[in-house]
């Protein structure tokens, strides 16, 4: 399908593979930077991953000016504003985000505050509201899911209003994404499974929602194919370097796809589940994805059917609706397999959600912007019904 109109943009330089981290000081030189603000979380520090980055700087005239390791599971406006102040105080000239989506989005948020000369991120939320050029940013993912290393999005938790805020701007693309297999080897099985399902959700929503386009379709399909090959392998054996680099690339490709094609209703429900019950984003996406595909099947059966091949369907191609059901079954099978090998929850009730929470999640979901791009409407009743099915 050729859309009536579409846009595609991805200005990120990608370094992927063996010892990619070692090239960071050289990339900083190309970017004209000398002193990096390293943004990470305590889990990444404890796993020894920052030592790999520090080693890369050992024989360089570039330096890590400050290590900010206070990023929580869900980045917040308070943490972003604190980081922005530190960046200025420490006279850093670029951001080096090492971690999952939260670390990268915290760095993006702080970069916006610093570059816009603002004192509060809340004043700048929305779409394309960032006008100033941002400081250079290098992103090193330690999970394979968020894709934030190649996206123009940042999601930050608003502590005052208890909602996740979305920031979308072409200025938010990092300058460099560094995919080094060493950085994801220590990811525990359950988190490997959850973040991998996050990447799968990015790819499938990019392929099936309203902003899909031929360029992103390519990225999305290859991402789905890599996830089929490597997600279970990486979850079963975290030291499998081929599977790790495969999943890191899958997450990156899915990130490029959804940065341009956007996501849909799964993400609205997952953001809301995160805001209300603090369900990890990947876990919520994994649980909700098959239920939302079922809801969307009537509207976009061809698109849902078309990804069955990338997911490993060996069934002779059926009518779109039936083939779409094959896709949904394959997603469910993957989720079940990941549950067996890692304990990834398959129901919201296993992920810390109570039945009493469902109305609040439904209400938060309809105010989330992601479902604008969903092929079918997300009303309060639809949200509640879907959540009940997934409960």
């Amino acid at each position: 399908m050729i859309p009536n109109y579409y846009q595609f943009y991805c200005p990120v330089k990608i370094l992927s593979g063996h010892q990619a981290v070692s090239n960071i000081p050289f990339e900083m030189e190309l970017l004209g930077c000398k002193k990096a603000m390293l943004v990470t979380d305590k889990g990444v520090v404890d796993a020894g991953l920052i030592d790999i980055v520090k080693t890369a700087f050992a024989d360089s005239d570039r330096e890590i000016g400050y290590i900010f390791d206070e990023v929580p599971q869900d980045s917040s406006n308070r943490i972003v504003n604190k980081l922005a102040k530190l960046f200025v105080k420490e006279k850093c000239d670029c951001f080096l985000a090492v971690g999952g989506g939260s670390s990268m989005d915290t760095a993006k948020g702080a970069n916006v505050v610093v570059s816009e000369g603002s004192d509060d991120l809340l004043k700048l939320q929305g779409v394309e509201n960032i006008t100033k050029d941002l400081k250079p940013m290098i992103a090193i993912p330690t999970t394979a899911g968020t894709g934030s290393e190649v996206t123009k999005a940042a999601v930050v938790y608003n502590e005052e209003e208890n909602v996740k805020m979305a920031f979308l701007s072409d200025k938010l693309y990092p300058d460099v994404a560094v995919i080094d297999p060493r950085m994801t080897l220590s990811l525990p099985p359950k988190m490997t499974a959850a973040t991998g399902m996050d990447a799968l959700t990015h790819a499938i929503e990019a392929y099936t929602c309203l902003q899909k386009n031929p360029i992103d379709d390519v990225f999305a399909k290859v991402a789905i194919d890599l996830i089929r090959r490597y997600l279970v392998r990486a979850t079963e054996d975290g030291k499998d370097k081929e599977a790790r680099i495969g999943m890191a690339n899958a997450a990156l490709l899915a990130g490029i796809a959804f940065s341009n094609s956007n996501v849909g209703m799964v993400h609205s429900l997952a953001h809301a589940s995160g805001s209300v019950c603090h369900v990890p984003h990947g876990v919520a996406n994994a649980i909700l994805l098959p239920w939302v595909l079922e809801y969307n099947l009537d509207e976009v059966p061809e698109y849902i059917a078309e990804i069955s091949g990338a997911l490993g369907s060996s069934v002779e191609y059926l009518e779109p609706r039936d083939q779409g059901q094959v896709t949904i079954s394959l997603v469910r099978n993957l989720l079940t397999r990941l549950n067996q090998v890692s304990g990834l929850p398959t129901r919201l009730s296993d992920a810390g959600v109570t039945e009493d929470d469902l109305p609040a999640i439904a209400q938060a979901a309809i105010n989330d912007g992601a479902h604008t791009y969903n092929p079918r409407d997300l009303t309060y009743d639809v949200a509640l019904e879907t959540l009940k099915k997934a409960f």
């Binding site: 109109y5 209003e161 309809i366 791009y373 409407d377």
Partner: protein
């Protein structure tokens, strides 16, 4: 026939200052459309219970605007009690704003040729301000559009077109009846 049309269009494009005239015509069309939308927001708020329910959770004094970049036209409205009040043309300190990137994109949506969600999907429109407010405004706007546009356009612009009851159709008639006097009041 096609060649005749093309020749006719070429003649029209050859009129001196055609780009300026075309741009002014589009601006005028959007100015009238936005004024009508503002009036519809006020009249629907007076009569439609589901609209009142939708804005019940909004903070009093919340301002929202709709307009076209870079030079307008724009309209700004404000929520007070269970009503929405038109404050006037221009961007009057809105909390959330729907903006079309250019006149052509605005014309596509306001003539019913394209839905607002399709305009967003095609990167023709953007939001400034709180995304949660924008989603709430979008639902309120959908109710206004339901009472403003005829069924044939609703089928085109909604993902799932609403089905109106007899009582709602009568209300729609009343909204239509009130729109012209409201527009005249705006001008006076």
């Amino acid at each position: 026939m096609d060649i005749d049309i093309q020749k006719g269009m070429a003649r029209i494009r050859g009129i001196p200052n055609y780009p300026v005239i075309q741009s002014k015509a589009k601006y005028a069309l959007l100015d009238i459309s936005l004024s009508t939308l503002a009036a519809a927001f006020e009249e629907v708020a007076k009569r439609v219970p589901e609209f009142k329910a939708e804005i019940a959770g909004w903070n009093d004094g919340r301002r929202f605007a709709v307009g076209v970049l870079p030079k307008g036209p724009y309209i700004t409205l404000e929520k007070r009690g269970d009503m929405t009040h038109y404050l006037g043309k221009g961007l009057l300190s809105p909390d959330v704003t729907f903006l079309f990137k250019n006149l052509d994109s605005g014309v596509l949506v306001f003539t019913g040729l394209m839905s607002s969600h399709q305009a967003v999907a095609e990167c023709r429109a953007l939001v400034k301000g709180n995304i949660g407010y924008a989603m709430e405004l979008n639902r309120a706007l959908a109710i206004v559009e339901t009472y403003l546009f005829p069924g044939i356009i609703l089928k085109r612009i909604f993902k799932e077109p609403p089905k109106l009851s007899s009582a709602q159709l009568i209300t729609k008639g009343k909204v239509y009846g009130a729109l012209l006097p409201a527009l005249i009041r705006q001008m006076v």
